[in-house]
Assembly symmetry: C2
Homo-oligomer: 354 residues x 2
DNA sequence: CTGAAAGCGCTTACAG
DNA sequence: CTGAAAGCGCTTACAG
């Protein structure tokens, strides 16, 4: 690499001290306009930019944030959710002049190292799992600026930006109820995601509130992939041919479910309705487009980054540690009124009886 | 953040000079085993890790690589291709102890800044466009260690890791020819991607070699999204109902094409065959699974990172500047022999047969 | 084998 | 308004 200039050389060439160059660089107020202009010209001439790490040393801050994705890299990088989160994050960081160091490590070792080595001013943790709780608490004890995206059972002192999974899932159920569906199956995400439990609860509560029976095989767990959605929907429809709607806890799985239904020669939504969860971009592009619960992915990224930067800079931050972003139901083409071929099913009568 | 220890404090506590601590930290040979042990104990006791930026300053290298994605962030982050590339990159970097700074900027300004500020030891440029050529050449003049992933018409001095798009596309065409297809339409990617031209050439050459006519509307350009594949396939099938196969220059578009065909009541591959390009993970998960040309995405990420790190460390690197990774055809369920009535009979009979 | 000193390229009080 | 000096936390010759 070409040797680049230093502040000392700029100072010499501009005929001032490096203190003055530093003042110009940092836009301090008290520099004579003439001096400032002279220094700026030399800086521009050489395309000079100060060494970021020298700067970090004396300012003891790096303007760098660690973006931690504590999952198996193979799992994460096939999931649009993480990509959209990253998008929100990078956009907001760039806007405020911060840099993002990517830290991909299930055991969070790299993240700890980056903190101990002072590479980062703070950490953003995407979708923590149960197993990360002790690490999170340890970071808090060290007073590392930290924001989680997604819910975690860790210390209540940690900031977490999340949607209300329970209410989001419930709104999906109510949408289906409103369309007359009663026989609704549920495909949940992996049990190791803290969000899965809440969505499950909403499904069960919703069904119970409507007085709808939930048979054991009607609730199943997938791995958030298209393929697992495809498989599980087949199992469900084999066992419960009278199911009129499926609520699926992730869009990827829901897209697999669409395939299943297609392949079984049924129409969506005339024969079966499907609701997803996440609102990844793809959910709008598939055919039929998917009714789903928006996670406000990009928005969460934006909010959490700004919160973290405020934390780092000592700017005022909200009192409450949990920042809730509304989970909005997005109605598209994969849901419709329950089919008229269903009325003779026992559950329908059941509903009317209610 | 909790104030962390410095090498000086470790030295005092271990009763040695900081030079010695530094030697232990860097695993230099000439330290008395006893001394070394004593220092190591203190280091472990305090979980000490040296300040990375202080280190960067004296060593004048940061062990950080800029991963540049010079595209509109909205475009990139809906594309699994970039995610899988990142995966290969991060895996390889972690293994060699480097860190990744994410630089997302169409105009490459942030990338230049990171270089001028000495934040990074080198750059990895993902899928350069035509418009980036002058920037690439400028970086080369400054002797910035640089590796491109994907082809670029920039200076022949730059290392580029890519697949042979022409041969890859040709193998797809030959696969279709082998199955008896003659009436093959082509949906290309955006013209601003350097790869699009090569794939187009392969399609045209293949068709010409077989003596197959290519009517103007049989070659179209999409935007690499599922939705654009869906739309364009509809246009093509409206205009050319006798097309028996589509070669689609990206898996996303190909997935949209599958939807189109489904929606028109035709079967894949019995009525129409579809070949994609990229081999993103999703291509294996859709139904039917997609025959496609593998870009060896993760492999390219791995190779390019290792090449860049060798370049940075002054290790020997290959003579040739273009590292070609083989583009392999992956045959799955979306292609099959041309239907017996294809050559001249119209589609209608088929439709009704359903 | 080990330590004292200089240096990496900045910023930040402290004088004036 | 500006400069000289000290300091950030390391590494790296240079002595011994």
């Amino acid at each position: 690499m070409k040797k680049s200039m230093t502040i000392t050389e700029i100072a010499k060439e501009a005929g001032v001290s490096k203190s003055t160059v530093s003042r110009v660089l940092n836009n301090k107020s008290d520099v004579l306009p003439g001096t400032k202009e002279r220094v700026l010209r030399v800086i521009r001439e050489h395309q000079f930019q100060p060494n970021a790490y020298a700067r970090s040393m004396s300012q003891r801050r790096s303007r760098t944030i660690g973006v931690v994705v504590p999952h198996d890299i193979d799992y994460v990088f096939q999931n649009q959710y993480y990509m959209e989160i990253q998008r929100g994050i990078l956009k907001a960081m760039t806007k405020r002049g911060y840099y993002a160091l990517m830290l991909c490590c299930r055991d969070m070792k790299e993240a700890f190292d980056a903190v101990l080595q002072k590479r980062v001013d703070g950490l953003l943790l995407i979708s923590p799992l149960y197993e990360h709780t002790p690490y999170i608490n340890e970071l808090l004890e060290h007073h590392v600026p930290l924001v989680l995206i997604g819910k975690s059972p860790a210390s209540q002192q940690v900031y977490q930006v999340c949607i209300d999974n329970y209410m989001g899932a419930l709104s999906a159920m109510q949408h289906l109820f409103g369309l007359g569906h009663r026989r609704i199956a549920f495909i949940n995400g992996p049990h190791f995601l803290p969000s899965s439990e809440e969505r499950r609860r909403a499904y069960l509560d919703g069904m119970a509130r409507q007085g709808n029976a939930v048979l054991p095989g009607m609730v199943r767990e997938g791995y958030n992939s298209i393929d697992s959605g495809y498989q599980i929907a087949n199992q469900i429809l084999n066992e419960f041919p009278d199911v009129s709607a499926l609520f699926v806890a992730s869009d990827y799985m829901a897209i697999g479910v669409l395939d299943t239904i297609h392949d079984r020669g049924m129409r969506i939504p005339q024969d079966i309705s499907v609701v997803g969860f996440d609102n990844i971009q793809m959910s709008e592009q598939v055919t039929p487009s998917l009714t789903t619960v928006s996670q406000q992915i990009e928005e969460k990224g934006r909010i959490s980054v700004n919160l973290l930067m405020d934390l780092i800079e000592g700017a005022p931050t909200p009192e409450g540690r949990v920042i809730d972003v509304e989970a909005k139901l997005i109605v598209r083409d994969s849901t419709g009124p329950v089919s008229s071929r269903q009325p003779d099913s026992p559950w329908k009568t059941h509903h009317i009886a209610l």
